[in-house]
């Protein structure tokens, strides 16, 4: 079976198309890597690339993209709705086919060392690649954001996993890790009151007593409306439809309705099939009933 790793790096640039294109271009030029998507958000002022390939090719593309982003992005000029700690904010690797999670952890660790050695950007390892329990959650590593890094890194508890305990002068730090597929999902509310989005986010996220496998923050979207920005860490256990319904119910308590929602980047077919199953109360429905999925399975050698 072909070895296939997915990499979904997040860069702190969502407003200058030339910079986003320049970063994407180095990925496109890397042999053995296929760029599946580029998604940027002006309000968050960040962009997400999605690419797949063999472990070595994907690691090479991630390093090349990091090199380019560090050269083009100055975090001292960066403002955006979304928390961030570096020009290359986070680089997750996801096992898709023919590789195990521990292979992705090895890729993350190797890339982190290369980023420090070549670019002098300190690196934290997170999720499955974390070296200690307090570093598993991205939100904990990001706490204090870019501006708080000098103080945070001076704390012995927050010495980077690779590199000196002081941030890169323009690129901050980078968080590298391995994880299962995650769904980045934003729910836009019909209100400009971001405080309501924050309250709903607190209700829905696991860390404050909400749904397991859910991370959420309240932010302002590009239209100026309140948005609940969600990371769904395991859609097989906490389905997308349940998150939507939970947010809808919570928002109603403040007299607020959902305007619409959006999936950032790519989503596994199984998550979408789950939503359909739930909405139509489908009995015994699986991906094997989806024509394209069947054709794809049969095309494999």
């Amino acid at each position: 079976m072909e070895q296939l790793v997915e990499c979904i790096p997040n860069f702190s640039e969502g407003r200058r198309p030339a910079v986003i294109e320049a970063i994407a271009a180095v990925v496109v030029r890397t042999p053995g890597v296929r760029l599946l998507g580029v998604q940027s958000d002006t309000s968050h002022n960040r962009c997400v690339l999605t690419f797949v390939g063999s472990p070595e090719a994907v690691k090479g593309a991630a390093l090349a993209a990091t090199r380019r982003a560090v050269a083009l992005i100055d975090m001292n000029q960066h403002h955006g709705e979304h928390p961030r700690v570096g020009a290359v904010d986070v680089i997750p690797f996801v096992p898709l086919a023919g590789v195990r999670m521990e292979d992705c952890v090895a890729i993350a660790r190797a890339l982190g060392r290369e980023i420090w050695t070549e670019l002098r950007v300190p690196v934290f390892f997170y999720a499955e690649a974390a070296t200690q329990p307090e570093r598993q959650r991205l939100a904990t590593i990001r706490k204090g954001e870019y501006e708080g890094l000098p103080t945070k890194l001076a704390d012995p508890a927050w010495v980077p996993d690779v590199g000196n305990p002081s941030p890169h002068p323009t690129a901050g730090v980078t968080v590298v890790g391995a994880r299962q597929p995650l769904i980045a999902y934003n729910v836009n509310l019909i209100t400009e009151d971001v405080e309501i989005a924050r309250k709903v986010a607190r209700a829905v996220r696991a860390s404050s007593g909400g749904l397991e496998h859910v991370q959420a923050i309240g932010v302002r979207n590009a239209r100026g409306s309140a948005q609940v920005s969600v990371n769904l860490l395991d859609f097989t256990k906490t389905p997308l439809a349940r998150v939507f319904e939970f947010i809808q119910r919570e928002a109603t308590q403040y007299g607020v309705e959902i305007a619409d929602s959006e999936i950032v980047g790519l989503v596994p077919l199984a998550a979408i099939a789950d939503v359909a199953r739930s909405a139509l109360r489908l009995a015994g429905f699986g991906r094997e009933q989806i024509l394209e999925a069947r054709l794809m399975d049969l095309d494999e050698p």
Copy 2:
């Protein structure tokens, strides 16, 4: 581009596994054809095969399956909830890739002539292959069912498109045609009163003033409950979620809820993505955001 035609023949046998397997086996043995699914329903007493391949290979598999079914099924012994006119009730061809609708019409017409010449089963052409407007709708051709065929075929208006105007003594007639992808969709109600399913079916189907592109009948399912059995002829214009909601609303008028629903056979990915889009109020969501769809597109030569 590879030429890919889908064929979804419906056979009047849903209770004898050996017969269903024998019919499926001849499809599996046909070179160039891939069998994607076999679905049978004991209450409807019919089964549906789904297979794909080149135009010639698919036509050959359909003829071989028809030959086997005509040998094994005696319509004089057949009872079931679903209307039918023959052992091989209907054979639709669907253009999937690299072929036009008119190619599928040509396949249907050629197969119809072969079925009559070799097996002496009279054939009607329907949908895009129909020779006259009154023969476009399957329900019109099926009216009177197997038992009514001697009388119907004696009517000059109902002379078969190919073959003599009297049914095959055990196989009745076969309806062959070409059409766009169709979704066969059953909605099960929490009631044993089939009359309510019939009323809901009348409300939802286009022919009695309901939703465009929807055919529906009320039947009894294998659990003994009332079922609205739907064919959705164009899910891009009348989405699956709208059909579900319409049926839910209608059923509520009789104090009846939906137990669950089921998709029979295969469903295009776009239809499932549509359901998710509707349920989550997704803005700007398309199949290009589904990981597997992106991987598949990139795998194409």
